[in-house]
């Protein structure tokens, strides 16, 4: 009770505490690896080398990172207004339809850089549309957005099944997916980015949407901390009663926030749909929407933190895939366990160690060396 409100310097809050949490997550993952009879140090090495060792590995890592940045930003924007959007998964899925429709309509006529802005808008609009009904229900009817957004994940999933199986499927083919986009509907690979650091991208799907994700990080930062809209969002998020005192309309801010949040989630689709596979596939989101919740939580809902935590999860995804390939005893499920450990320690148990660290800090601050 006494230590929760003690202010700690930024380097402890944003540096030391996350690192200790991460170390703990790896420590307990190591115990799990050791318990099934593998060498945890070797496993860690394989994971890191797999994720960061070669240009191709880095390419995959950053590909995953891109998706997580988008969904992480989506969750973070909503949290700043005090809303918990756990529908990023479905919003991204529907966003894929928006991106695919733009790509399918334009790819035969124009180069990729003309298609891209329309695809960004299309993906964002479809993602926002998916968030609009839960937003309206929250704003006007008080139906909790957590419930409605998670319900919408299922609705979108069924809808997309229908659209892919009955409408976008290539006649005569078995796979429920759209036709492959022509180059005019594909986002180019970022070979040059990896080449700058002397690596080779190889088969890795890292593409232009990575840069769009970074631009969105900057725009979200501007929105939240530099615009009046962001000011109203933060006021509502921290203190709804102060917002009502200040004449900040609840319904309006809830609607706007959820549309932005859904739009950011929708943009995630650019990465797998137009960047990696060049077609709309079933279940292409693959859980990135839910990872976004952990990414946002770990990144303290700040774009810079989100980039770092998205990178961490990118490393875990890519490194984990390599690890299960090299160490057959470690299955995909084991990788999920390790990811779970990271979420547990870095997210849910974030405050577990805080009191101890506060005490240690105070001890240090009181000693002559640290005192003022």
């Amino acid at each position: 009770m006494s230590t929760a409100s003690v202010p700690l310097p930024g380097w402890i809050n944003y540096g030391v505490i996350p690192l200790i949490n991460l170390a703990l997550a790896f420590f307990f993952s190591g115990i799990v690896v050791w318990a099934i009879g593998e060498n945890p140090f070797e496993a860690l090495q394989l994971l890191l080398v797999g994720a960061l060792g070669r240009g191709e590995g880095i390419g995959f890592t950053l590909f995953y990172t891109t998706s997580f940045i988008f969904t992480g930003l989506s969750v973070a924007v909503a949290i700043h207004s005090g809303l918990f959007n756990i529908g990023s998964e479905g919003q991204a899925y529907l966003g894929g339809l928006g991106a695919a429709l733009v790509a399918l309509s334009l790819d035969a006529y124009v180069p990729w850089y003309v298609t891209m802005p329309f695809a960004v808008i299309g993906a964002a609009l479809f993602g926002a549309a998916c968030a609009a009904i839960p937003a309206w229900l929250q704003a006007k009817r008080g139906s909790h957005v957590v419930i409605t957004t998670i319900m919408f994940n299922f609705i979108v999933s069924s809808l997309m099944n229908y659209v892919l199986v009955h409408m976008l499927i290539v006649p005569g083919k078995m796979a429920p997916e759209s036709r492959t986009f022509l180059p005019g509907g594909q986002l180019p690979k970022l070979d040059w980015l990896i080449a700058m650091f002397g690596g080779k991208l190889g088969a890795a799907p890292l593409n232009f949407s990575f840069l769009i994700a970074l631009i969105m990080c900057f725009l979200v930062w501007v929105l939240i901390w530099r615009t009046k809209l962001g000011y109203e969002m933060r006021t509502l998020g921290i203190s709804p009663s102060a917002a009502s005192y200040a004449g900040i309309g609840y319904s309006k801010i809830v609607m706007i926030t959820m549309l932005i949040s859904g739009g950011l989630a929708g943009m995630m689709a650019l990465n797998p749909v137009m960047g990696a596979s060049a077609r709309l596939q079933i279940e292409f989101v693959g859980g990135a929407g839910f990872v976004g919740i952990a990414v946002s939580l770990m990144g303290r809902n700040h774009p810079a933190g989100i980039v770092l935590s998205a990178l961490l999860f990118g490393i875990l995804y890519q490194g984990g895939a390599e690890l299960s390939f090299d160490m057959p005893a470690i299955t995909r499920d084991m990788i999920v366990v390790i990811q779970g450990m990271v979420i547990l320690f870095a997210g849910a148990l974030e405050y577990m160690l805080r009191p101890a660290i506060v005490r240690a800090y105070q001890q240090f601050a009181r000693s002559p060396a640290g005192g003022r």
Binding site: S5, V6, T227, Y231, I238, S239, S244, Y245, G247, A365
Partner: protein
């Protein structure tokens, strides 16, 4: 500095020291309270009173020092330990389960076994005994939420006594009571003292200290700066010790010069979210250049009245006219544009966003104004204005980038007062301007309110502090159970107003 009581000590604090980071909340506190006495602890907000009592009750551990009870050193790690050492606490905000009965609340946490029946029987017997010994009569089967506040407080005292408290700590106990209820509380406290209990009374009201305590300690900046026999000291001396300089206890103001009507409320009825009528057919006017005070015990509709005028709560019927315009359908932002400023009752929940930096709060509600930028926030302009207000209102520490939660209560209130008064509004509505604010800041805020009146503005003041209402207002309306039960001039006596507040005489 130390003061030796004649009787044997109930409680001794020796060299208590507590730091929170760089904040030295308690510095080498030495305090001895005699058994069977009432000891007052007085000090401004942030002087360290609450920290000291929290150490005594086991919420915090002291970094250094010793606590002795009846001469024996004790370690108090949590409230359980405090209770078993015979310390009971009556919190400022009651810790009662509202939909439980008195008996259930008294037993809570001391049920005496897995099955309730035996505990209930013995608790009932014990309550009877306490009633007989101390005259603390409460119906054990009454539900808490149906009891008046004064009775609820009595239940808190009973809870402590039921657990065998020999030392009772009361934190700002009269904040929510009417004057007659407060008098009754003091009667109870005297009985308790005469029966040998020791009472520590924390308050910022000097008059209460004078009225009830035997001895008093003054705290300032984490230290006990003086301990006196109450009979040997004066209100003026205590005030000076608290603040560290001479203070004006009486507000100086000239005659009011009322002009045209700027705020008019006609047959206003306001219901709360449950549909209960909180403001019942209220009508009044406030003219330019006058302060109209609304007196009343908290919870008699004043909050709802203020919120309706500020546009936060929709009235169910009636009309509010600000500056000649009906405000039906306006939101708070539109009302600000009409020239209405609102210093809300509760700065923590309404007036400020505590996690914001100071400069961010200095525009709350006015943030859409062009002078702070278009779609983007013009941070330079906002910070510059915030810094000017910090200087003008002597807000400390003078740092616009500091998180608002890290300012003291008085300085937080000054942030709100500066923001609202500096907009030069025509109508200023104020709720509890000095709740939880230290004496130095009270003096300052009162002066600003008078200045606003003298500048020809209409001021509506709601406060549960009768002294504040009486010293600031030109006219006083008394609210009871949602109705205005009477109007008096600013010179009305406390007795008269107190009876009206209790709904006894109109």
């Amino acid at each position: 500095m130390s003061f030796e009581p004649a009787k044997e000590p109930a409680i001794e604090l020796v060299g208590i020291d507590k730091k929170f980071g760089a904040v030295h909340a308690n510095k080498n506190i030495n305090l001895t309270v005699a058994k069977g006495s009432i000891h007052g602890i007085i000090g401004e907000n942030g002087a360290g009173k609450s920290t000291l009592m929290s150490i005594l009750y086991g919420f915090y551990q002291a970094d250094e020092g010793e606590i002795r009870i009846s001469g024996k050193p004790v370690t108090i790690r949590d409230s359980q330990a405090a209770i078993s050492s015979g310390i009971g606490m009556v919190h400022q905000h009651f810790m009662l389960v509202e939909n439980f009965t008195v008996l259930e609340n008294v037993m809570l946490g001391a049920e005496g076994g897995q099955l309730l029946r035996r505990g209930v029987a013995s608790a009932r017997k014990e309550l009877k005994r306490l009633e007989a010994d101390y005259g603390l009569d409460v119906d054990p089967d009454a539900v808490i939420e149906e009891l008046p506040v004064g009775r609820q407080q009595r239940v808190e005292i009973l809870k402590a006594l039921y657990r065998g408290a020999e030392i009772l700590i009361l934190d700002e106990p009269t904040g929510v009571l009417t004057p007659p209820e407060a008098d009754h509380l003091f009667k109870v406290l005297r009985v308790l003292r005469d029966q040998g209990k020791t009472i520590i009374l924390i308050t910022h009201k000097l008059r209460e200290i004078m009225a009830i305590t035997d001895t008093v300690s003054v705290m300032r900046r984490g230290e006990i700066v003086a301990t006196r026999k109450t009979a040997d000291t004066t209100v003026e001396e205590l005030a000076e010790l608290m603040v560290g300089r001479r203070v004006l206890l009486r507000v100086e103001k000239g005659e009011a010069d009322p002009g045209k009507v700027l705020l008019s409320v006609k047959n206003l009825t306001v219901k709360d979210s449950r549909g209960v009528t909180m403001v019942d057919d209220v009508s009044f006017e406030v003219r330019a250049g006058e302060i109209v005070g609304i007196a009343g015990v908290a919870g008699n509709g004043q909050s709802e009245l203020l919120e309706a005028i500020a546009g936060i709560r929709k009235p169910s019927s009636g009309e509010i006219i600000v500056n000649g315009q009906s405000i039906a359908g306006s939101d708070p932002a539109m009302l600000r544009a009409l020239g209405l400023a609102h210093i809300p009752e509760d700065r923590h929940h309404m007036g400020l966003v505590l996690k914001f930096e100071e400069y961010e709060n200095s525009i709350l509600g006015y943030h859409r104004d062009r002078r702070y930028g278009g779609a983007m926030l013009d941070l330079d302009a906002i910070r510059k204005q915030a810094e000017e207000q910090i200087v003008k209102y002597d807000i400390r520490p003078p740092n616009a980038r500091l998180k608002t939660a890290n300012f003291s209560g008085g300085n937080q209130q000054k942030i709100v007062v500066a923001r609202e008064i500096e907009r030069d509004p025509d109508v200023l509505i104020i709720g509890q301007p000095t709740r939880g604010v230290d004496i130095g800041a009270i003096e300052f805020i009162h002066k600003r309110i008078i200045d606003t009146r003298d500048a020809g503005k209409a001021v509506l003041l709601v406060s549960v502090e009768l002294d504040e209402i009486r010293s600031l207002s030109d006219r006083i309306l008394v609210m009871f159970a949602g109705k205005v039960v009477g109007e008096k001039s600013g010179e009305a006596g406390e007795q008269t107003l107190g009876l009206m507040m209790a709904g006894i005489a109109a």
